[in-house]
Each structure stands twice: as structure tokens, then as C-alpha cells.
């Protein structure tokens, strides 16, 4: 019983972090219809920045994370104007190529600045311990991360489903010129949306560093996991993202616990199975009559 609880709790916290990053990708890729394989790069940069601020600038943990998120969001604004604007109308192949190119540049830069090895993350005293939940002790950090993720995801859901901004972005993606004709500044909307997506990635990368260890190849390593969560979420369905992320997180954790040798297998085979089963959920373009 306690094993089950352990797997569930670990899997859920892991899945939620992935979900956060995936939602960022859902925003940049799903809403803006760009195949963005470089999303992981922003997450990795967020993680590395945050770790550096803690280790070298002595910043307190929450502040470091927030600063990293803001820094990455600002950076992404520049990258969007310089690179991504050309991708909105480019072919899928071009989008893949350019974003892979960005990945390469970021991976190389990270390796050159921080070295090729895994960067260890230091948790502050207050979050490093474990707490006894009755049936099992559980790391405080994971609980905190879970709560933060739920809060952020909840806020996102409210933001997109309930506010006008969400509707504006959706309108802009469906019909750019019409939306502009209605007086909405579409390029600025796209920039801000992109920054939000990358900020989420950075948050996931920074908070998730203990669970998703920081190394230069990070963008490629977790690419497929995040991609699949995004793809299986249908067109922008936040609830589906959370669901799929939970499944992925739990299966990955269970796999590593029971069959450490073959853990990777399980997850990839699960991904393939999910993709075959939910084939129609993969970016079904809304057909207009």
C-alpha cells in the first residue's frame, strides 16, 4: 500500500512539473501553430539560471526561481522577434530545422558555460527534509512543487478559458488578419503569449531541477516526453494535458521502481501506444464547414 502511495505521489509531482512545461509548449506550439522543438531549451536555461543565482549570487530559493522565469521570458521576447516570426508562415520542415538549430546552439552554450556534467541542485534547508504523512514519509519539496504546479495550472486555465485575452489569442491564431482588423495588436499578442509559454517552461525547469537533473543535453533528453503530452492534449485542452501528464509521470515512476533496467522502454512504448490510440487528438485542425 505504501509503495502504491509512493509511486502515486512521486509520479504525480513528476507529472505535474512535466505538465507545466508541456502547457508552456502547448501555448507556443498549439496556439501559435509552430512546431517548436526548442521549447526544452528555454526550460533548461531557466533551470541553469536559477541554480546559478542560488549558488553564486546567494539568492533565496523562491526569488531565484522568479528571477530566472522573468529573465527567460524577456529573452524569449527577443528570440521571438528575431527567429520565430519567420516560422509562423514557414513549412513544418523549416520549423523543425530552425528549432533544432536553436536547440543545438543552446546545448552548446550550456556545455561551454557550465561544463558537460550534471549540475547538482541545492535545496534550501526549509524544503530539504521529509514530512510524515501517516502512511509514508514524503519529501517536502515534492509536496511544495505539487501545490505550486496545481496553483499555476489552475490560474492558466482560468486565464485562458475565462478571460478575453484567451479568446483573443485563439481568435488571432484562427484568423490573424481578421483579428488585426478588429484593432487587436496581433504581433504584440503573439510576443506576450510566447513569453508566457517560455516563462512556464523556465518555471518547470527551475522548480523541477531536482527531479529533472540539469545537464547540457536537457532540451533533447526530455523533448519526446513533453512533445507527446502536448500532442495528446488535443487542441489546447488543459484538462487533457494534466491527465496525460499524470499517466506519463506515474508510468515512468512505476517503471523505474519496478523495472529499473527497462524503465525507458515502458515510457516509449506507452507513448507509442498513446499516440496510436489518440491519433485524432493530435492537432486536429478545426475544420470550418
Amino acid at each position: 500500500m505504501s509503495t502504491l502511495a509512493f509511486i502515486l505521489l512521486y509520479g504525480v509531482s513528476y507529472g505535474l512539473v512535466l505538465c507545466l512545461i508541456a502547457l508552456g509548449m502547448l501555448i507556443t506550439m498549439g496556439l501559435m501553430r509552430v512546431v517548436n522543438l526548442a521549447h526544452g531549451a528555454f526550460a533548461a536555461i531557466g533551470g541553469y539560471l536559477s541554480a546559478t543565482l542560488i549558488a553564486h549570487a546567494g539568492m533565496p530559493f523562491p526569488l531565484a526561481i522568479c528571477s530566472a522565469v522573468v529573465a527567460v521570458a524577456v529573452l524569449s521576447l527577443a528570440v521571438e522577434r528575431l527567429v520565430y516570426v519567420y516560422l509562423y508562415t514557414a513549412s513544418e520542415l523549416d520549423q523543425v530545422l530552425v528549432t533544432i538549430g536553436l536547440d543545438f546552439i543552446v546545448v552548446a552554450a550550456l556545455a561551454l558555460f557550465f561544463g558537460p556534467d550534471v549540475l547538482p541542485t541545492r535545496l534550501p534547508e526549509s524544503l530539504a527534509g521529509s514530512v510524515d504523512l501517516g502512511f509514508r514519509t514524503f519529501e517536502v519539496y515534492r509536496i511544495v512543487v505539487t501545490i505550486v504546479c496545481i496553483a499555476v495550472i489552475g490560474a492558466l486555465w482560468l486565464g485562458f478559458e475565462r478571460t478575453t485575452i484567451g479568446a483573443q489569442v485563439r481568435a488571432a491564431v484562427d484568423n490573424k488578419s481578421m483579428t488585426q482588423a478588429m484593432g487587436i495588436n496581433v504581433p504584440r499578442l503573439f510576443s506576450l503569449t510566447f513569453a508566457l509559454g517560455c516563462g512556464l517552461a523556465a518555471l518547470g525547469g527551475a522548480m523541477g531541477a531536482p527531479m529533472l537533473p540539469l545537464e547540457p543535453m536537457w532540451p533533447f533528453k526530455y523533448l519526446i516526453l513533453i512533445l507527446v503530452i502536448v500532442a495528446l492534449s488535443g487542441s489546447g485542452n488543459i484538462r487533457a494535458s494534466v491527465g496525460v501528464a499524470m499517466i506519463v509521470g506515474i508510468v515512468e515512476t512505476a517503471g523505474r521502481y519496478f523495472f529499473p533496467q527497462f524503465a525507458a522502454f515502458f515510457i516509449y512504448l506507452l507513448l507509442i501506444a498513446l499516440m496510436i490510440w489518440r491519433r485524432d487528438g493530435l492537432f486536429a485542425r478545426r475544420r470550418t464547414a
Partner: protein, 328 residues
């Protein structure tokens, strides 16, 4: 019948001066740079791999990020066959290619129903599954250590595989030559033309009565066979096969090499592979990750400039020099 323009997809059977030039250069390497024959052989193998990928991406329009699976299967098959005692080189390569082809024939009818991002993801996943499998099945693949001690009987019973690498180089070149002209023939045929039609507008092809999937599967199988042969050649000429042949790196490399050279021209790999490997080699002299930085930047530049790649640039220059330029 009015004369067909040179750039038409119906003119691919025509003679192209660039080809004998390239073969000449390749042969010239033996005389001019004999100390680089080993590297040259690796380049030839990569050119063949990129050729197989061009058929798939450039002509059929199928974007797969897991093509190294076929390369890897061919490589390991050739290694295992040789270690098991099948030391005849040519048939070993053919067998390896056939195994890759069979795998493609099994996977193709399912995978090729997808296009775009779903296909990218599923091919990526399949590639990763195979890598994990190869990595874990150490009893078969040698795992991280790979398979070594691969020895082959002299080629055609006469030519030893000698230290200087002449035999290996000419062997690889021979395969490349043969497979290039085979592929060229296929691409110039009505099948090849229909394939390009599918790439341009598959819905329209369906409404012309073309069921599309069979064409894609055939292209996939041929492409896989050639990739398998390339892998087998790598094993045979290196007398070694390791996990790198199954790695994601290799799938991404072949994409970059093709794009660099020029997609859909069949000749792209002939320029893209040597250039890429040169850049990688020289950039790595500065440090381990510099080449990644350069390639990343190069990729973005190439895409921004236009996807004719280096061949496209060369074409534009020669057009201007010879005064052509109509219908490009």
C-alpha cells in the same frame, strides 16, 4: 512532343555534368589524399545514408526523425552475420539491407498513415525504443562496447582489405555508384513522379485515383534498404559497430546533412555530407561542443536563405554564369 525543360521533374533521366565531376573527384582522392582514405570511406557511407533519406524526405515528403533505425539495423546485422561466419562482404551487405527493408515493410503501413508532427513524434519514439533495445541487449549488440573483431573474406575472393584502405574506399564507392543510379532511375520513373505528386498534394493524388499509402510504403522500404546497406558498409569498413549507429544524433545528423546540401535533388548528400563532416571535424578541434554551435547557426542560416541548400546556391551561381535561369 515538345522539348521538356531541364528543371522538369520529367527530365530527371537526363545527363547531368555534375555527376561525372563528382565521381572523378571521388576517384581523385585516392591519388591526391591517400592518407585520408579511411575518413573518405566514412564520408561515402554517410553520402549513401543521406541519399536514402533524400528519397524519403525530398521526394516522398515524409519527415521521419527515426531513420537511423534502419541504418543501425543494417549495421548490426552485417556485424552479427560476419561474426557468425558469413564473411562474404557483398551478400552480407545485401542481407543486411534486406532485413532493414523487411522492418520497413512491417512498420510502414502503420506509420505512413500519419503526416507532419504526429509522424515526427512517432518516428522519434520508435528511434528511441530501438536505441534502448540495442543498449540493453548487450548479449546481441555488445551494449556500450559494441561488436568488434569483425573480419571479412577478401572481396570477390581476390582483394584483401589491407591496411591502406584502398579496397574499402573503392568498395564503398562502388556501392554508392550503383545505388545512386538505381535511385536516380526510380526517381525519374512514373513512380517517382507520382511520389513527388504525393509530396506536393496528397489529397489531390487521391482524387486522381492514387491510393497514396502503397506508394509511400514502397518508397519507405527502398529508403530503408539503402540506409541498411549504408549501415552495413560502415560496419564492414570499420570492422566495428557501436551504439552510435542507433542514436538520435545520427537521425538528426542525416537530416542536417540533407538540408545543408539541398533537399529533393538526390545530389544533396553528395555536398552536404562532406561539408557537414568537415565542419564537425574542424570545429571539434576548438573544443567538444563548438561544432554544435556552428551547426545550429548554420542550420538557421540555411533555412532563412532558402531551402535549396548549398546545391541551390551552386545552381544559382552556375545559372548566372551560363546565362540560364528560365523555369528555375
Amino acid at each position: 512532343m515538345s522539348p521538356l525543360p531541364r528543371s522538369s521533374i520529367l527530365s530527371r533521366h537526363r545527363f547531368n555534368l555534375a555527376e561525372p565531376l563528382w565521381w572523378g573527384l571521388a576517384l581523385g582522392v585516392i591519388i591526391l589524399f591517400p592518407e585520408y582514405l579511411a575518413v573518405g570511406t566514412s564520408v561515402l557511407v554517410m553520402v549513401l545514408f543521406v541519399l536514402s533519406y533524400d528519397l524519403l524526405l525530398g521526394f516522398a515528403g515524409v519527415l521521419s526523425l527515426g531513420h537511423t533505425v534502419f541504418f543501425g539495423i543494417g549495421a548490426y546485422a552485417a556485424g552479427l552475420l560476419a561474426l557468425a561466419g558469413w564473411t562474404e562482404a557483398v551478400t552480407g551487405v545485401l542481407a543486411a539491407g534486406a532485413i532493414s527493408a523487411v522492418l520497413a515493410a512491417a512498420l510502414g503501413p502503420f506509420l505512413l498513415r500519419l503526416r507532419g508532427l504526429p509522424l515526427i513524434m512517432i518516428t522519434l519514439s520508435v528511434g528511441l525504443v530501438f536505441f534502448e533495445a540495442a543498449s540493453k541487449a548487450t548479449w546481441l549488440t555488445g551494449g556500450d562496447d559494441g561488436l568488434s573483431g569483425i573480419e571479412l573474406a577478401p572481396l570477390f575472393g581476390r582483394f584483401g582489405w589491407g591496411m591502406y584502405g584502398h579496397t574499402k574506399y573503392l568498395y564503398a564507392l562502388g556501392w554508392l555508384f550503383f545505388l545512386f543510379y538505381l535511385t536516380r532511375r526510380i526517381v525519374a520513373s512514373p513512380f517517382g513522379v507520382a511520389l513527388q505528386g504525393i509530396r506536393e498534394n496528397d489529397a489531390r493524388m487521391r482524387l486522381m485515383g492514387n491510393p497514396v499509402l502503397p506508394h509511400l510504403v514502397v518508397a519507405y522500404v527502398i529508403s530503408a534498404a539503402i540506409a541498411g546497406i549504408a549501415g552495413a558498409l560502415l560496419t564492414q569498413t570499420n570492422s566495428f559497430v557501436g551504439l552510435g549507429v542507433m542514436g538520435l544524433d545520427n537521425s538528426i545528423d542525416v537530416l542536417i546533412m540533407l538540408v545543408l546540401g539541398g533537399v529533393g535533388r538526390l545530389f544533396g548528400g553528395f555536398i552536404g555530407a562532406p561539408v557537414y563532416m568537415l565542419v564537425k571535424h574542424f570545429a571539434s578541434l576548438w573544443g567538444p561542443y563548438y561544432w554544435m554551435f556552428m551547426i545550429g547557426a548554420l542550420l538557421i542560416v540555411v533555412v532563412r536563405v532558402g531551402r535549396g541548400g548549398l546545391l541551390g546556391i551552386i545552381e544559382r551561381v552556375t545559372d548566372r554564369l551560363t546565362g540560364r535561369g528560365v523555369n528555375r
